[in-house]
Each structure stands twice: as C-alpha cells, then as structure tokens.
C-alpha cells in the first residue's frame, strides 16, 4: 500500500531522512519510533505529500506521489504533529467543512459525521468553539477530522498526546479496529502504546532505520538476558552457594536477616526456574515471589537508540 525506496530529505546541509526504505501493507498498523529529531515527522510528511523528498521514490497504492498527488491525497487521512485546528470555528462547522473539502457530500458526509462523533467521543462539544476546547478534546477533534472522509491510509503523528489514560485506551482501541482493513502509520513516544496497538515497528534514529520487525521478533532479537527476580526467606547461605556453584550472574537487594530479593541473569535461551524452585525446596527455604522479567520494547528501543 505504501512503499518508500531510498528516500532522502536534505535540509540545507543535514539529512533529516537518510535513505529510508520500507513497505506497509493493508491491515498493518506500523509504529514509528525514534528519539526527538530522528526524522519521524519528516518521513510522515513526505508520505502525505506535505513536503517532497530530495530523492527517492514514494508510491502509495501503486501511484507515484509526485505524479498522482491529487488522487493520493484523497486516500490519506493525516493528523499532523501538534494537531493544528481552526480555533475560530465550531467543532460541527469544522468537521463538515473539512469533510466537504475532502470530497464527502450529502448522505455519505452525514453518516461519516455521525460515525466520527460517536467514535471519537466529541458529541458533547459539537457546538463549542474549537479555540475553547481542552487539549484532550482538541486531540479527539483532530482525530475525527482525520477520519471524516473514510481514508484508506491513516498517518497519525503522536495521536494520543494530551489524552488521559482512559481516553488513550479508547483511542488505541479505535485505531486497532480501524487498522483491520486499512493501513495505519502512527508515531509515538509511548512505548507500551506501540506494544498494545501496532503489528509492526520501525525504529528510526538520525534519519536511518535501525530496526524493523514485529514487536515480538524485536524482543527476541534484542533480548540479551533472561532475568529472574526472586524473593526468598530462610537459609540464604545455602542458596547463595548454589548460585555461585552454577556460575550465574546474580545480585542481592533488601537483605534483612533471613529474607532477601535476588536478581539472577541467564543467557536468553535458558530457563532455570524449575531447578531453582526444587533447590529452594530442598534447602527448606520459602519462596515469597518469583518473577521472570521480559525484555520490554523500551529496553529494545533504548538499546538500539543508544548503541553508538
């Protein structure tokens, strides 16, 4: 649906986007991750046609963005960074105006209007001026505007900024359900959001793609160690000598007389929970808590971005 080939964007001397290539298919929800200034917004603006790439090919639904600009714009719903809106319009006027501008009229506009009002939860602010809305409402009006013409492709630049946790979940579910038969690209700083919503992830840094895969694959690739957090009571000496005998890396915290929390690291593919459990039983110690910590996307992200 969307394909980028060797896309470069140069601002005076620096490359904001430095040879980016990727493909997104229908039904994909692609998460765009990267530190501030990594080139996320620039890449998204190139896809929407707001700016043109210095070199490289961008094609959307099989059409080149430079030659079929107008047709492509009809397919895309774009929510820019900082969510710009006309402050002097009422929400209803704004949505109707934008809907018509994007080629939605009559009955179709009416049904789309009802759909976005219901799904973006803006029913109670329809007759308020946009300039007087709170940040959360503004964000939802922006999202509603993006969806008003039923676009096949959604490009959302930080769609959940300024929402409260309950709203974030609602918007996340909305994006998920929309993404089933559409193509979605969203950028965000909130990593759990990507894990919850996206089917694929692109991590970009300094204009270059650093990693691109599904979230679970990324975790597998970048999981360097398997860590177990263990809280036990009684006979700690016996347990420590067992750890030393096995040559595992371990550390201890909060040691109070006969109770302590251990953190033990294994190579990624090994799982020693069973043997640890039986050893503790044998030592007549008591397990208060045992927990295997998973590598989160956050760990992967930090690892990739801070590599150099």
């Amino acid at each position: 649906m969307i394909s980028l080939e060797n896309v470069y964007k140069r601002y005076t001397t620096d490359y904001a986007v430095d040879g980016v290539s990727f493909k997104v298919e229908k039904g994909d929800i692609l998460g765009f991750l990267g530190p501030n200034g990594a080139g996320k917004t620039t890449t998204m603006r190139i896809i929407t046609g707001a700016i043109a790439a210095t070199s490289g090919n961008v094609s959307i639904a099989g059409m080149d963005i430079l030659t079929h600009h107008k047709e492509i714009k009809k397919l895309i719903g774009y929510m820019p960074e900082n969510n710009p809106l006309y402050n002097d319009l009422k929400v209803r006027e704004y949505l109707i105006y934008r809907g018509k501008l994007k080629g939605c009229h009559g009955k179709k506009l009416k049904s789309r209007f009802d759909f976005v009002v219901e799904n973006c939860f803006i029913g109670d602010v329809l007759d308020k001026l946009i300039g007087n809305l709170s940040k959360g409402y503004r964000q939802r009006v922006g999202l509603a505007e993006t969806l008003i013409h039923d676009p096949q492709i959604l490009i959302l630049d930080e769609p959940t900024v300024g929402l409260d946790p309950a709203q974030i979940r609602q918007v996340r579910d909305l994006i998920k359900s929309l993404g089933k038969d559409r193509t979605v690209i969203l950028s965000t700083h909130i990593l759990p959001e990507v894990e919850a919503t996206c089917t694929r992830v692109v991590i970009i840094n300094k204009g270059k793609i650093q990693a691109m895969d599904t979230t679970s694959n990324l975790r597998k690739i970048y999981r360097s160690a398997n860590r177990i957090k263990l809280e036990i009571k009684n006979n700690l000496d016996l347990f420590e000598s067992f750890l030393n005998k096995n040559n595992w890396k371990w550390s201890v915290e909060n040691k109070i007389s006969d109770q302590a929390i251990y953190k033990i690291d294994f190579p990624a593919e090994e799982d020693h929970r069973e043997s640890i459990f039986s050893k503790i039983v044998e030592n007549r110690s008591v397990i208060l808590e045992m927990h295997q910590e998973k590598t989160s996307l956050e760990d992967v992200f930090i690892e990739i971005v801070t590599e150099e």
Binding site: T48, P80, E81, P84, L89, K102, E145
Partner: protein
Amino acid sequence: MRNIFLMTIRDLKTYFMSITGYVILSIFLLIYGYVFWFLVSIYSSPQYNLNEPITNFFFGSFYYWFVMLIIPPILTMRSIAEERKTGTLELLITAPVSEMQIIVAKFLSSFIFYAFMWIITLFYFFLISKNMPLEWLNIINGYLGTFLAGSVFISLGILSSTISRNQIVAAIVSFGFGLLIFSASFVSYLINYASIKPFMEYINIMDNTMKFSQGIFDTRPVIYFISLTIGFLFISVKILDSQRWR
C-alpha cells in the same frame, strides 16, 4: 471549483465573525464618511463653484489612495502567513486541493470583503441623488476602477503573505511594495524618451485608475490590472508549491 467556493466561504466567515473584519470595516467607513461629508460641504457651499463631477474627488482624493494602499495589506496579511504559523496550512496542503485553488480562494475572500466595503459607500450616492445630478454610469465606472486597482494590491498582499511566516511582516512587505509600484507610476511624468514614455504611461496605476472615475472606460487598463493580478497570484502559487521542496 467547489473547493475554491468552500475555502472562500470559510475565509469570508473569518472576516465577518472576527473583530478584525469589523475594525477594518468601521475605520474605512469612518474615513470615507468624513470624505463624503467634506465633499458634500464643498459642493453645497456657494464659495466654491465646482463643475467637476463628484466622482473625480470621491475616487481620486488623497484619502482614496491612502485607503487603497493601506486596506489590502491589512486584509490579506493573515491569509497564508497565519495558516502557516498555526500549522493549518499543512491541513490544507494535504487535503485534496491544489495550491492554485488555495491561493485563488484566499484572493477571492479578501477581494469580496474589499468589494463589500466599497459597495456600502454606494449608499452615500443614494443620499445625495435627490439633490444633485449624478452620472450613474460614471459612478459605476469609478467602482469598477476601484475594484480593479484594489485587486492588484490584494494579490500583492497574498503574495507577501505567501512569502512570510509573520503577518506583520507580510503587511509591511505588501504595503512597501504596493507603495513602490504605485510610485513607479510617477516616473512617467519625468521621462521624455519617445521609446519608453508610452510604456510608462501604460503602467501608470494612478492615471489608469483616475480614467475610470472620469468616466472613461478603456479596455487597456482593465487588461493591465487583471494581468498584474493574475501575475501576482501565479507567483504566489509557484512559491507555495516550491515550499514543499525546501
């Protein structure tokens, strides 16, 4: 066409629903009310025996040119610059409308507001029509000249607004360049070279506009003003388009 109409209506709403629009309108009517009162006083006083039609002064006084040079920059300074500053320009550019449609809509909304302001002053003529012989064709011709010359300055204002990010800068640039192309008219009085003089006379904005108020309808100034307007708008479209490539 539909898109241009939609965007024009939306921008017209900003003029009519914001305080700026009413401030411009009131100040204009205040100035022109004074001009009119002054003219009527002179014409009714036995001291001055004026034979010239009132349109010569109504569409040709110092105030006329003051308003003509000041109002278009203020009307147009917001158009693109403000949208760029707030980021809504990005919404327009990524909507299925062309740069040409955006610029034309911006021009039309400013022009319609400008024309609306002037059309209100038609009321003045109705007021005196019972007591003073009026040449209505002259008056209509005077308005035509006003609209044509105004469209030149409005399109120049749109161009300045396309270039700048700040609306104050846009207003200053368009006022400055407006004043310059207006003043360039006067060079024709200094030049005596037979080869350039006709050309300089042709591009003289002031004299060309005055012809309309004197009741002379000539297609040459019409074409000149319209082509200047289209020229400025065309450059604006190209600049707006080129900004995607920066």
